[in-house]
Symmetry: C2
Subunit: 327 residues, 2 copies
């Protein structure tokens, strides 16, 4: 990159991950139509997106099929039905599933990589689950997958806890460690502090640093750019920012910024028009005031999500007073 006007140049090693179906599915228990999932897939291919996270590899006993759609479990037959023709080499896209520590039957349900269209497993975990996460990463690596360590809710734990997680992740085969701002609480200077911490702890391992931002304070795109500026080479985004509560970094903003000519914006715009905007008739997401407030207060958005389903959903003052009374 040029030092003079870096915003018109690019790093070829910077890769974009679409997590529309995985993260967006938290709004609707992953009950997307096959048509929508395929449309997101086709769009990722056309737009030059590097990774598409198509769902969770989560436990059927914890997330019964009666209540949750196929993309909560990513059974191989569901994957094959919708993207069975996938080919990494022909498309330039790698398919990804996320497995949560504590919520995944990972020992039994993840098949060897050469038997799946999936090429990567991202392991999501809270700090106190790091030991299981390390086991999961090693297991998935042995099965042939690229792997990633996604420490969630990093704004709610101490620096000593973060350091301990980084020490545990360092010797694993995880190719990426992501900064995950689950509560949408982090400001620019906190992204800097975390990036520096992650980079120093993982120096010399070849691990990439990723960024997964939420949009509670309209900072998801800005914080993604900030991490990229500092050196993060893995960036997560979703189409129209689709995601639980305030949503995520919008893909249309991220691809509009990135200068690698392989990225194409027009297919994204078409997907938004044909498939994503219509979802707003049944589900709500975006940086509404209620999510601004939980983000500012470093709270899980669940209180705001719940309040948005009540008759008082537009009584902002009442919600604010309740939040303040609770802290």
């Amino acid at each position: 990159m040029s030092d003079k006007a870096p915003w018109i140049t690019y790093r070829p090693e910077l890769k974009v991950l679409d997590c529309t179906v995985r993260d967006g599915g938290l709004i609707n228990n992953h009950q997307f139509t096959d048509e929508l999932v395929r449309a997101v897939y086709d769009t990722c291919v056309q737009a030059g997106v590097d990774y598409m996270e198509i769902g969770y590899k989560n436990s059927v006993s914890q997330f019964p099929k009666a209540d949750f759609g196929a993309w909560r479990h990513c059974d191989e037959e569901d994957l094959n039905r919708v993207v069975g023709d996938h080919d990494d080499d022909k498309t330039g896209l790698k398919l990804v599933a996320m497995a949560d520590a504590g919520k995944s039957d990972w020992k039994d349900k993840i098949v060897p990589c050469d038997q799946s269209v999936l090429g990567m497993i991202r392991v999501a975990f809270y700090a106190n689950q790091v030991s299981e996460a390390v086991d999961m990463i090693r297991h998935c690596h042995e099965l042939g997958y690229e792997t990633s360590a996604n420490l969630m809710a990093v704004s709610s734990i101490t620096e000593a806890e973060i350091d301990t997680v980084l020490e545990a992740v360092r010797p694993t085969p995880a190719g990426t460690m992501s900064i995950v701002d689950s509560f949408g609480h982090l400001y620019r200077e906190q992204i800097d502090m975390l990036y520096t911490k992650y980079a120093e702890a993982l120096a010399g391992t070849g691990k990439e640093i990723g960024i997964h931002a939420h949009n509670n304070m309209q900072l998801a795109f800005a914080n993604t750019l900030e991490a990229i500026i500092l050196g993060a080479n893995r960036a997560d985004a979703t189409m129209a920012g689709l995601g639980r509560g305030a949503g995520n970094c919008p893909m249309e903003l991220l691809l509009g910024f990135l200068r690698n000519p392989k990225f194409k914006l027009r297919p994204i715009i078409k997907l938004l028009q044909d498939h994503i905007t219509p979802l707003r008739e049944t589900v709500e997401w975006g940086p509404l005031l209620a999510f601004n407030l939980t983000g500012q207060m470093n709270l899980h958005p669940r209180a705001a999500i719940k309040y948005r389903t009540t008759a008082d959903k537009d009584d902002y003052v009442k919600f604010y007073d309740e939040l303040i009374a609770d802290i």
Copy 2:
């Protein structure tokens, strides 16, 4: 500010300017009710906001009263009707009007400061109008007003032009020079470049640097924070981000971030609920896709605003194709 966790400390000299009525009025030709303007005023007082920009001092011949509301002209009798009881010392608030170079009868229509509730005139100008702007600043200063130089559309001019404007503004009595991202096009590194340029050119003058951001790419709040981090002590925002096209930096986000205990968020939330959200029934603003695109392309939002009034307003692909064909 602490170096370790600056985001929980504050600079007492950082002042916030509300430009809801002035900038938001570009949506509706400044045809706000007196009740709304007074509600914004009362909220600014209660919330600890330092400046409220209540409208333009623009020319009646160019902006006829038949078509434009009172806040396009800020005649003294209109000001006195709604905020005639204003007192800087009692409220801690200073009232501001903006005067545009080329659109203002400033020689005749700006009364001496001691005969007005206004305490500040901000002079807005394009680079090629800098000579008139300098005259306006000197004139308003002589009348007793605090003054500010607001170079608009800074993303669309050359560095040499910016340097020339800064040289011209440097010897004036303007207390503030603002970075104004009219097209909502600037990324973080460009804010840094401009801040450094403004700060170097104005060093030793005692002038403050301000930031006025637009939200085309969901970066208004982030860019405002960026300028503040670098040292800007004047930050503009509007209630709910009200403003033409994508709108502005949302006051509720800015005050939620600032740690000076004089700032209060609750009055803002109440205003949003009672007065600002209801405006959405008749006017549209916010970082919609159309504004994302004009921001990315460094275009005035007028094409997007016009398109949003057509029957094709949700045909994003058509709008994108038209924009691409035009550049």
